[in-house]
Symmetry: C2
Subunit: 123 residues, 2 copies
């Protein structure tokens, strides 16, 4: 099948991080992530849909009122997609930013995410 | 074992790209890359030490007199390293730049490289 566009992948991904409702976030992850998906960045890691949903829930709890926004233009080749994001409070300045590399499975679902921090409070 | 630092990995990697002598480049790749190493960016791909050495040789032939230089500070976590580079002629302006994500094997050798272009003549 044709993979979703890098932009579509990035938007789907950030929507899961921005979803405040745990049940809706799990449903989004069930639809768009591989069952064996893995996530790792310098601060946290998660495995499987439930593990990743719980990880996102925990990260969100640390930044109430903040949301993730796409920075720049996603690109990709083969099974890989790259995009950058900012984390900011509503109408406020970004408190952190990063770049994620996503690997898609054969069905175009997120199989693996390797995240890096571009700037952060503690970096 | 302890992995080499992100800076050491980036410098070793770029040195292989900048090595003009095919024999010396193959020796450097034999020492620092896994036998099953893979490379893929939007323009080219290679597999195995010989395949990657040949790919680099071909890429170098397209940019005579140019070399790769590290841009910014390499970072990493777990088995992953990220760094950015510029390709420029001697004393000249960069003609291309990219960001590579390197995965190391258990022995600290380069196992996989996923490259992205940050800017390029045709991008």
């Amino acid at each position: 099948m044709t993979h979703p566009s890098p932009l579509a992948i990035a938007e789907t991904y950030l929507a899961a991080w921005n979803e405040a409702d745990d049940t809706r976030r799990k449903a989004a992850i069930a639809g768009n992530w591989s069952a064996s998906a893995r996530y790792a960045d310098p601060l946290m890691s998660g495995e499987g849909r439930d593990g990743i949903a719980a990880m996102i829930s925990g990260a969100r709890a640390q930044f109430p009122g903040h949301s993730f926004a796409l920075r720049g233009t996603p690109d990709g080749h083969g099974a890989w997609v790259r995009f950058s994001w900012d984390l900011a409070p509503e109408n406020g300045k970004a408190v952190a930013g990063g770049t994620d590399m996503v690997r898609l499975d054969g069905a175009g679902r997120i199989e693996s995410v390797i995240g890096f921090l571009d700037f952060a409070p503690s970096a």
